[in-house]
Symmetry: C2
């Protein structure tokens, strides 16, 4: 990687690999779907998180440790420190993006409170290690101490990359904490690891940000230690925290879906920095099998409520989909790292799918309520979360303002604030655009003049993406634009008035660009049916409706006469249509007889065949559901 | 009910209602499916349970309380006392059935140890209320104190009904415990109830057994108290313990499936004894809706692992079926009570289905290992439980010898030992036979001579049931034989050589019987396909195979060449066959292509259509699966 004076403002900056990411300073998002979400994130979500962190006492926990306050006044779960750190990370990206002075001063104030809680040897945790508390590292299985430090390091990385040399003290706190971990868990230290992966990816990135190789070595050690049963048994089996099989030997992601993705992200980081193709291949294979057999059509991951875990292959029930928001964030982290390492467009496809259909589904339109899990089917209106206290239920009928385990709001906030860093990358040949958003992308290659492009698009409402090269260049370079897998055979690229079909992957145009040259990518935006693999038992005989990168859903509030979403049967002989900007399908209504016993020898009887008129049923983008009061909803629609 | 000198040896003896049960002394099971299970229960399971109860210290807990031993030596969960009581109940039925002197003396020894732990005021629990323990009744939500006493009372009922006047002391212990509860939780006492229903049905039956109305009144009070939120909130909502809606207002069973069934059973008992048709109707409606929409084809109940709970209507995933063994036992308890109250054959149908396909599935062939949950689909071989320690996992790949929550083995044992009491009943008109088992049934009506019948059958392997009336009678009486719902139009009844078709329900023959008269019921035993209601998303496009009352399954150990059960697609154009005593279906194998993403616009493509030869695939009765080493298994088979 070419050295540069100012660091790239991005969460992941590998020192080698196929692609080099651009950062928040290089990619300016000026409008459209993601700009709107970033603006709600800045205007509402960050403030909302700050309010709840104070209200629940999770920041005050640091004050308590700093002042030697009574241990029994500590509030929140054992990992509540991490929410403060993720909030700091989100705020750091936001300050980097907008330079907001108000957030700058609030950021500094919280960092000070965190810093005061740090022990002299660098140990930092509000739940362990002080008077009246369990000893440090006494519960590696569930204590989350290393996990919390991981998020502290990621916050410091965000700060160093956006405000290098800032005198807020966060970098020093993070260095001491990272050193303490290396001192404690190095080859001569405790032969342990954390029940919740996160420290691995964080240590590598912190090593990249600081140039300190020791952190990378410690991350590699943690990755290698996992999979040998060191963490012991838990009710759901050792695969819950991926401790039953070493990373190099595993063939698929399994167990707790957030843990699995964070660990795999860390393993990619280690593989990249240590130039370990075997480790990288192991994770790529795991990812491929996971996406092929264990991922929802939304990109969501994790089928099981009980242990927040992946199911076995093909176990993807819509109605008990866990699809935790944080697993979506973790999946974006993993896929982005694999994309940078390999340059394969499939990774960017999953990033797009997951951002649009999981990460952006979690927050409500007001940015002050969140889905923790993202079910694909709600059958009953269910209970509405109390808006004035943390929800104890992961699966509420509507979004909740806060959770006792409130990992999702902060994870969404840090992802949205750093969204620009997932848009584009460069290599020695030129520029790659992975995600389409109105704005500008500009960077200066190591050996050349600045290259700037302007992207104009109404995507994802519209499928045309116009990319205008702003600067003339004496030398040729390659512009690569991602053609999403969902586009099939339907995309075209227009350059200089010449239209050519382009297949999924990267459509490339190499030339000596003149200022004002334009490349137009046209993606096919007719709504379409998607059929599940026949091995997915839960959705056999159903279709989903997609348009562009968006998955659609039918929501009961859109049905005339308070209809039941479960009674609809789609006529797949009639393709979905666009009418007045809305996607529609044609359905009949099932009118089943009441029976005493739901199993009989009649086969699909005439009584079970839907009758009544064919009606047009409007759908909405899945991410937009549950913003209009209690409702029922389906993504997968049974066919006639 | 007509008074009789010796009590009927049955767990449920309502003082009014449509039918009067016969007991273990009236119904002698002499061979066949259930005799074999009772014999394994007696020869292996009871001994196995006794071993584990001692080994885990759950009986010793009583010694600890009796001797004032240190509280921290107590072992097991808060409800471990109940396992000792259920074991006593099972043993009492077994002694009643066989008169085994060895079990008699062991029974008495355990009763003595229990009795010594009782406080002077009747309070009895090893987890609360003594030095170093939490106070009595300090955790009604989770403490299970009332639940445990409920099982004590049921053990005492079994003993009083099988050995009236025995001097073992159990009745006195139970009376003191029941009185203590009435003193504590009466109208002027604690306005509370137990997080786990069980005390309600137990108090009613104990009242029936002792003639003490006070116990009935207390049971009625507990039933009425539930549903008003007295227990407070839990993570899974108040419906977890049925405390969100009063019993009279609820329309379906919901929440924790064992709790729901036990509560409903108690409500039926209260309704029957207090002649409360409104309460009875409420439970009958709940049962009907639950069976129509929330019950597996096996009779299993409970769809969710997380909270061991019913799902919403139509949520019946095969692969995450919880179908807890104890919920099956509870469902049999409830349906039996509703049958006695109403005389409707549908209740006996569910008793039969659940006994054959849930209760008899739990224990392995050797009677020393048990399924806690009874999944309908196992996709992976999974882990095999350690045979030398309690399993902490409810969903093991094979049966486990014991569990940390070991409610199922003792529940199976008490049900099998008392099986004879679920076979037949009487009313003023005559005799009703509900379950078919080789043996004799004899009773003396209040106003007449003894009536004895002999039942000969190979059921469920064979569909012919021969019922021979042994005694001549001067007066006519009615013999009613149940025609199961699954028999459809295919059953016939032969009396005196005359064959007539009989429909599901009770086929009745009223006559003045001569000794040697024979009635022959012929049930249609061709294996058959059963199709699920189209509203059950999880099994859309699948069939199950049934024969008689048995649900069948395909198990991987029966597939040639180590086949994958998930690749089979059944040709429903060819009915299942019987070949060499085995049920078979015709299948092709799915040969799906490897794809990077499991959703596409192609619809059911040629590639997804199964190919290859049509092969005959053998099935086994579901209850018999997992007795031949690790395997995968399916009940619901996708169709071609």
């Amino acid at each position: 990687m070419a050295p540069s004076a100012a660091p790239t403002a991005a969460p992941v900056l590998p020192s080698r690999g196929r692609l080099r990411p651009l950062g928040l300073d290089d990619v300016r998002v000026t409008g459209g779907f993601w700009a709107e979400r970033q603006s709600v994130n800045a205007a509402a979500t960050l403030e909302h998180i700050a309010y709840w962190l104070e209200r629940e006492g999770w920041i005050r926990n640091f004050d308590l440790v700093a002042t030697g306050g009574p241990a029994d006044e500590r509030r929140g779960r054992e990992f509540s420190d991490s929410e403060v750190y993720k909030f700091l990370e989100a705020t750091a990206w936001e300050i980097g993006r907008t330079g907001d002075p108000e957030w700058e001063s609030r950021f500094r104030a919280i960092v000070q409170r965190v810093a005061r809680a740090q022990d002299t040897d660098g140990y930092l945790n509000t739940r362990f290690g002080h008077a009246g508390q369990p000893p440090r590292w006494s519960d590696l299985q569930w204590g989350h101490e290393l996990y919390c430090v991981g998020h502290l390091l990621q916050a410091a990385v965000a700060r160093v990359r956006t405000r290098p040399g800032a005198d807020d003290g966060l970098l020093a706190v993070a260095c001491r904490a990272a050193d303490n971990i290396c001192d404690t868990f190095g080859r001569d230290g405790i032969d342990g690891l954390c029940g919740h992966p996160e420290i691995e990816t964080a240590l590598v990135e912190f090593g990249r940000a600081t140039g300190e190789r020791r952190y990378l070595a410690q991350a590699a050690l943690f990755v290698e230690r996992r999979g040998h049963g060191r963490l012991g048994d838990v009710e759901w089996g050792r695969e819950y925290f991926q401790d039953e099989t070493p990373v190099r030997q595993a063939t698929v992601l399994r167990g707790h879906a957030v843990r699995a993705n964070y660990l795999a992200a860390g393993a990619v980081d280690v593989a990249t920095e240590t130039d370990d193709p075997g480790l990288l291949k192991a994770v790529r294979d795991q990812w491929r099998n996971t996406v092929a057999r264990r991922t929802y059509v939304t990109g969501g991951q994790g089928s099981r409520h009980q242990d927040e875990a992946f199911g076995e292959d093909w176990v993807l029930p819509a109605d008990r989909a866990y699809s935790e928001t944080c697993a979506g964030v973790g999946s974006v982290m993993l896929a982005w790292r694999l994309l940078l390492a390999s340059g394969d467009s499939g990774y960017a496809d999953l990033v797009e799918r997951t951002l649009f259909n999981v990460v952006s589904t979690s927050p409500g339109a007001d940015g002050r309520q969140f889905f923790y899990t993202n079910t694909l089917h709600r059958r009953e209106l269910g209970t509405v979360p109390d808006t004035d206290r943390p929800s104890i239920r992961a699966a509420a009928a509507q979004r909740a303002p806060w959770f006792e385990v409130s990992c999702c709001p902060t994870n969404v906030a840090r992802t949205l604030a750093s969204f620009g860093a997932y848009v584009a990358s460069t290599d020695d040949e030129g520029l790659q655009i992975h995600q389409y958003v109105p704005g500008t992308i500009g960077y200066r290659p190591a050996d050349g003049a600045e290259r700037r492009v302007t992207v104009s698009t109404g995507y994802p409402a519209d499928g045309q993406i116009r990319i205008r090269v702003e600067d003339a260049d004496a030398h040729p370079w390659t512009l690569s634009v991602r053609v999403p897998g969902w586009a099939g055979e339907g995309a075209t690229l227009t350059v200089d008035g010449e239209v050519r079909p382009v297949r999924p992957g990267y459509a490339v145009e190499r030339r000596t660009w003149r200022g004002g040259d334009e490349v137009v990518l046209d993606l096919p935006m007719a709504p379409r049916f998607s059929y599940p693999d026949d091995r997915i038992d839960a959705t056999r005989g159903c279709v989903a409706v997609e348009r562009g990168p968006l998955v659609f859903a039918v929501e009961s509030v859109d049905l005339a006469g308070g209809g039941n979403v479960d009674e609809l049967r789609v006529d797949t002989g009639r393709p979905p249509t666009l009418a007045g900007g809305r996607v529609q399908v044609h359905c009949r209504r099932l009118d089943p007889p009441d029976r005493d016993w739901p199993y009989d020898g009649q086969g699909p009887t005439p009584a079970a065949v839907p009758s009544g008129d064919l009606v047009e049923v409007p759908l909405i983008p899945y991410h937009a559901w549950a913003n209009r009061g209690p409702s029922t909803m389906r993504v997968w629609l049974p066919t006639i």
